[in-house]
């Protein structure tokens, strides 16, 4: 049975409606509505006597479709209809959706978009600098008021970011160093220079890989955790509650996390260095048949006094970058779950990027000062 049948009735129109007018039939209703004439030139009488229990959605769509085809504002009446229709007709007449055109979002010019972007970047930079400033203020305050350091919280974060990260950091440092030694040995053995695998492993692990790998793992583990934890607290208005109680969220939430990371990351780096050297030593023993005492003496020869420190000194800097980026992005979360996800991603990507950028700057600096 067709849902819509239009008949001419003298000067007016008669619209016979039949069948099931439920949401499930909407696709058919849409199609049949399109077959109606573009404009009604007379009054319309809708005859609902053959339709069973029309749903409000389909009926509303019909009313809207009829109103669109009725620029002359001819009377539209309903016969044999449940009283629901009159209610809907009233509701529809009260607020015709077309009276409220939606703003077109596509009209913004490229120049104003550029301006908006520039402004946003400027505000972003100011916000980030202000954030660093507030951290420094708390640290300065801690000189005169040691309570500002929140030792229990600091200890908890050292445990969460440092101690619990030991297994994964150790494992990855060990495996990467084995891989480097293995690939290095393949090349060096062609020159009969097997023993230089020790130099390769020692220098690459201590100067670069130990600290860089640790920083990247920690950025993935703790940078994201900082952003997510603080972000959820923002969504729950917990940070506002702290402020309202006269407490500084930077002091309570941010500084302990950043300081904990600054303490934990160098310690993790030492473990990563040790595991890296162990990996190199094991591979040398098994694959290159270099006995351990020989490995150790070669290791001492290859080490400059600064090799170990040039790696370790970067750790606190990386830690500060990871911690502040994570906490800053967390503090930026507003309003929605989507923001939380986006800013957590941004925190991880940005902190890894910052770590690698800083590492490059350190490399140039160390070459210049011959460290």
């Amino acid at each position: 049975m067709t849902l819509l049948a239009l008949e001419r009735n003298g000067l007016s129109w008669r619209l016979r409606l039949g069948g099931g007018w439920s949401l499930a039939a909407m696709a058919t209703i849409e199609a049949e509505l399109r077959s109606l004439p573009a404009e009604f030139d007379g009054d319309v009488v809708c005859d609902w006597s053959d339709a069973d229990a029309p749903g409000i959605g389909p009926a509303w769509t019909l009313l809207h479709g009829l109103a669109e085809r009725n620029p002359g504002r001819h009377a539209i009446t309903h016969a044999g209809a449940p009283y629901l229709l009159e209610f809907l007709q009233t509701l529809h007449d009260e607020r015709h959706p077309d009276d409220h055109p939606r703003p077109d979002p596509g009209t913004e010019g490229a120049i104003s978009a550029l301006g908006r972007w520039t402004l946003a970047q400027g505000l972003e930079a100011r916000g980030a600098i202000g954030f660093y400033g507030r951290i420094v203020m708390v640290l300065r305050e801690a000189l005169t008021r040691p309570g500002a350091l929140r030792v229990p919280s600091l200890v908890r974060h050292i445990y969460e970011t440092g101690i619990t990260a030991i297994p994964i950091v150790a494992l990855i440092a060990f495996l990467i160093s084995v891989i480097v030694a293995y690939l290095g040995a393949q090349q060096l053995s062609r020159f009969g220079a097997n023993i230089f695998v020790v130099d390769l492993v020692t220098i690459s692990v201590l100067r670069e890989m130990g600290v860089l790998l640790t920083a990247i793992i920690v950025a993935g583990r703790s940078g994201s955790a900082f952003a997510a934890e603080i972000g959820v607290m923002q969504l729950n208005e917990e940070t506002d509650a702290l402020r309202a109680m006269g407490m500084n969220p930077i002091e309570i939430l941010v500084v302990p996390r950043v300081l904990a990371l600054i303490i934990a990351l160098p310690l993790l780096t030492v473990i990563a260095d040790a595991m890296g050297l162990a990996g190199g030593g094991l591979l040398s023993l098994v694959n290159l048949h270099i006995p351990l005492p020989q490995f150790m003496s070669r290791l001492r020869e290859s080490l400059a006094p600064t090799t170990f420190w040039s790696g370790l000194v970067k750790a606190p800097v990386f830690a500060m970058l990871i911690g502040t980026v994570g906490a800053y992005r967390g503090m930026q979360v507003r309003e929605s779950a989507r923001e939380l996800g986006r800013l957590t991603t941004v925190a991880v990507v940005q902190s890894i990027f910052m770590v690698i950028l800083a590492d490059a700057l350190f490399a140039v600096l160390f070459v210049k000062i011959d460290f």
Binding site: L23, A24, M26, A27, E30, G55, I56, G57, W60, T61, H64, L84, F87, L88, L91, H92, E94, R95, P97, D99, H100, R102, R334, E335, S336, A337, R338
Partner: protein, 242 residues
């Protein structure tokens, strides 16, 4: 507890008495420890997946805090179940979103706002609009007026009565709001001493149980009753059967 077609049924109980657990059990969000839940004559606990999916379309739910999806606009929230179950054109979806906004008395321009941009009262209305989008016959409301100012709460009560009479909805409402209870509900279920006592409001007022007496005769309850009596009309809920 039994809810009859075409009534507004209120559920009250002390904090922690299990109102929300009851609601979640009825909705099938958790399994009942004992007993059965029947909806439209079907046992909710032992339904096949497909039967359950079909049944779910017959009722709408609003949660205490709205539970609007925060990354979608109000219109998209309303259209979410429509898109899931029917294939409709964008124009029709917008039409239907406007219909549901009109039903709950939200302005048309609320459609493009995100939930975070709405006031508490608007969030509750938008949640109701989403619950209505599949044209359910049965509506579950969890604390629909909590966190609203008295004017917004009263407006919500009127809206509920209006929709109840126009759309012939059956409503189950968990509430702590005595004004709302006296204004809208015909019958009430009280969870007390780990079981449910069901009665009409007038019957509840006579109930000798100490907790129920405290609840319906406390200082706040008296104010609500006075307000209701002085308005001189009994809930519309009882006037529109049939």
């Amino acid at each position: 507890m039994e809810v009859r077609p075409d009534e507004i049924f209120g559920v009250v109980g002390g904090s922690g008495a299990g109102k929300s657990v009851l609601l979640r059990t009825i909705l099938g969000l958790r399994r009942a420890n004992a007993g059965t839940v029947e909806m439209f004559g079907e046992d909710m606990q032992n339904l096949s997946k497909s039967r359950r999916a079909a049944l779910v379309r017959n009722f709408g739910v609003t949660f205490q805090n709205g539970a609007l999806i925060s990354s979608l606009t109000v219109a998209q929230n309303i259209q979410l179940p429509l898109r899931e179950y029917f294939s409709l054109s964008e124009a029709t979806l917008n039409d239907l979103a406007q219909l549901n906004l009109a039903l709950v008395g939200l302005p048309p321009d609320a459609a493009d706002k995100y939930p975070a941009q709405l006031s508490g009262g608007m969030v509750k209305r938008a949640a109701l609009a989403r619950a209505l989008s599949l044209e359910p016959k049965l509506l579950f409301l969890d604390e629909p007026t909590s966190g609203l100012d008295p004017i917004s709460a009263a407006a919500f009560d009127e809206l509920l009565l209006y929709l109840h009479s126009r759309l012939k909805l059956t409503v189950v409402m968990v509430t702590h709001d005595l004004d709302s209870l006296f204004r809208t509900c015909g019958r009430v279920g009280v969870i007390v001493d780990r079981r449910m006592i069901t009665d009409t409001l007038d019957g509840m007022l006579e109930n000798p149980h100490p907790w129920i007496r405290d609840y319906f005769h406390g200082p706040r309850a008296r104010g609500a009753q006075l307000a209701e009596r002085s308005e001189e009309h009994r809930p519309v809920a009882q006037g529109h059967h049939g």
